[in-house]
Amino acid sequence: MDIKIPDNWLRDFLKTKATSSEVAKYLSLSGPSVEKVEESVYFIEVTTNRVDVASIMGVAREAAAILPQFGVKARLQPIKLLNLKFSAKVDYLEAEVDHKLCSRFSAVLIKNVQIKQSPDWLKERLAAVGVRPINNVVDISNYVMHELGQPVHTFDYDKILKGKMVLRESRKGERLTTLDGKTHTLPGGDIVIEDGRGRLIDLAGIMGGENSAVDGSTKNILLFVQTYNPVNIRQTSMSLAQRTEAAVLFEKGLDPELVTLGIGRGIEFFVKLTNGRPEGQILDIYPAPYKAKKVEINTDFITARLGTEIPKGKITQILRSLGFETNWKGKTLEILVPSHRAEDISIPEDVVEEIARLYGYHNLPSELMQGALPEPPADAPFGFEEKVKNILKGYGGVEIYTFSLVTPEEAPTGLTLKNPLGKESERLRTSLMPSLLAAARQNLGEKEPFHLFEAANVYIPRSGDLPNEKMMLGGIFANSPFREAKGILEGLLSELNIGWEIVSGDAAHFLPNRHVYIKAKGKILGEFGELSQGYLYYEFDTEALRQAHREIESFKPIPKYPAQIEDMTLTFPERTKIGEVIGFVLAKEKLVSRMELTDIYKDAFGEALSSAYTFRFWYQHPTKTLGNKEAEEIRKRILAGIKEKFGGIAK
């Protein structure tokens, strides 16, 4: 939580000659982080474990301990309270309290208050911490809360019917209107206060009820200061989305000892600013007062955790400055934790933090660890993924990162979020395709060919388990000829030393006849084809690619005898699949070591004549140089085979 601390208010309690920028700097190095100082107001970030610092008094207490560590004199000026009389029973209020919900319950009746404007100095201080001044009664509550970090509430005493309060857990469905006019239907388990007539008059720790609120004609008020169970407060505040300043403090677990200061300071201001007359007895129901918590630590532990030895005297001095009591027994130190640190300090590690931050993290040594190296997980995929990306980049691909959250239409089977930012990002994607399509469309103005690719997880739901996170490699080509795009994939597969095969077959989202599966050893690695939107698209399962790839191709002896190379142009009937022709020849004719398509014939108008193709053949015998006669025999066999199987003839 972020708080504002005006410098002049802070100096009511912090006696030092340090400048505000010195205070800010040293606090940040050893305590709460001061984000900035603007117009003599510190903007401070208080972490959830240090609610004791979330006030003027809390910051003053920290600063008074920290500044001397940097050689700057500083002293805490405590609040002096009037003589207060506490009693577990008073005649002006009958209270029944569930102690599980409220560990300390205090209240005092103040009669004949005069409601009016607060003095300027008070209004200015409230404005500086971001609170709008209303009238003296409301302002006192806010002032005390900001000064001490203890929320304070005031009831119109005459609206608490029969002078009775019952503090209890709410029942599900009970209704209550808070003083901001909102009516809440309670989820149950909220802390509420019921008056003598059974009306709910307070959503305790969060906001007062409208029916018991102080108004212009209020005469007598009940000043009300408690310590609530943080878990209940948080639950109510979160489920009703009622995040008041009081709730944000209470939910972090406040120090019950703070109640004394809260009620005392409140009375002081009511007397001073409203001319109210407080009753002599303060109601204080506090069945289990704070008993100092003990933590034990020894110097070896401190040295081991910090990597350096801090003298015992220094340790004692640091801990005492923070309000701990210390008691050494040899190397062992017994520490008594002050009430305002009870929530945060429980284990030796917590004490180490206190010692180290005041000793100064900058004073600790810096060294790399020695010792054995870890065992890496076998078979890590990172090098492979990097390689694939580099190959695609080498072929002109442009890598993108897109959001994994997509629309329900884009991932009909994907996992749905409970609390999405919007419909357009409600599902976890199960394919990269929708994202890559959107990415291509983002570049509609681009007339040149381009190729975008992404490697990212998709999340395939599994019943009763986490989704299967599959690393996919997807890519999209725009303005690109089919053969060029496919060539890039062939290049990738060949650089990965994967023996692949292409199997045609239609698939959803792809145009009919324009889709293939890419397989290796019978396993599908991925798919490629033309989408109905006109783009060419591919998606591989990266893990399948990795399993199929080989880091290095196995060595084949260099042929001792030269190959005979020749070109032949063949014509085929329409709808012949040339990939199948090449596959057929290579499978059937062992003496053909290579066969490539080198040209597709075009007619006079530049249109492809899909029926005429020029191929280049490499005839190769492992143990001898092939003669013309032998080459001719091979050629004859090839032509006969092609004619029989595909009806293709030499031109």
Binding site: S28, L29, S33, T47, T48, N49, R50, V231, R234, E251, A304, R305, L306, G307, I347, E349, V352, E353, A356, Y361, S366, L368, M369, G371, L373, P374, E375, P377, A380, F382, E386, N390, K393, G396, E399, I400, Y401, T402, F403, S404, L405, L415, T416, L417, K418, N419, L428, A438, A440, Q442, N443, P449, F450, H451, L452, A456, N457, Y459, L466, E469
Partner: protein, 346 residues
Amino acid sequence: MREEIISTKNEAMAQIMEAASSSELEELRISYLGRSGKLTSQIKRLKKIPGDERKEVGILINDSKSAIESLLAEQKNRIGEAAREWFDPTIPGVRPKRGHLHLITKAIKEISRTFEQIGFVRVRYPEVEWDWFTFEGLNMPKAHPARDEWETFFVDTPPHPKYGQIVLTPHTSSGQIREMKRVRSTSSGFIPIRMVNIAKCYRRQIDASHVPMFHQFEGLVIDKGISVAHLKGTLDYFARNFFGASRKTRLRPFHFQFTEPSFEVDVSCGICFGKGCKVCKGGWLELGGAGMVHPTVLKNGGIDPKEYSGFAFGWGVERTYMMKSGLSIPDIRLLYSSDLKFLRQF
């Protein structure tokens, strides 16, 4: 013999100086230095000269030969200027199409390389994870206010009886317990751990400096006797090797439920080197969180906190890389756009 050589040389030099075309020069080269050229035949006769003298004459011939050769080359250039074929070597080359790796890929590579140099092992853990690994196992009970720091997305599926709801991990710290469990389950159960977990993270937020999906890297070191000094050493190593030799880090107090003590880590500003300037805060830039692993977290990972200790840190990849490269990208959302005009810049 000596005079003969000198006169051959002088004769050759005179003729070369007068030659007017490169073909004429070639003829002269053949007549003196060719297989049966004048100087060549004198070299052949060297063998017949007696020992002492041979050496001297040899030197003379060699000197003459190189004098003729260099004059030939010189003269060739002089008369050749006019006859050179015209060629424009300044014409732009035909470039292959250039591809681009994304900035985030580059960042991840550099970050993981830096840590790998000091023995860290890169791992990857679920991005969609159980609440237990994300929060509860990290010492954040349900309804703990510390959870507010992470604006978490929840998946709409029934909760697991032990591990709770499914969430999109808002930080890479969810990999900590996974890594401890992995190490403990190997046959040797071998600790130490030096892990760097880099993954996508998700938080319910979007504006110029926040995106609902981003990347984090998480460092985790566990061994006997690991101290704050080792954390400082590791961070300083990273700062020097990733940001630059003169860069340092500092720790400030902070709080995380899963570390104790906890720190905020700053790196010294690369522009003013700690003096303070417009870019930084008093000479320092905020990197992210770190801390000593909380004993409860070690226990939850099956590691005895009495025997072992460790530290962890988890920072944003995008932010850390921006700080290194000095790139001032005004809107972090640009990183996740697919606009080629952006992507082709890197």
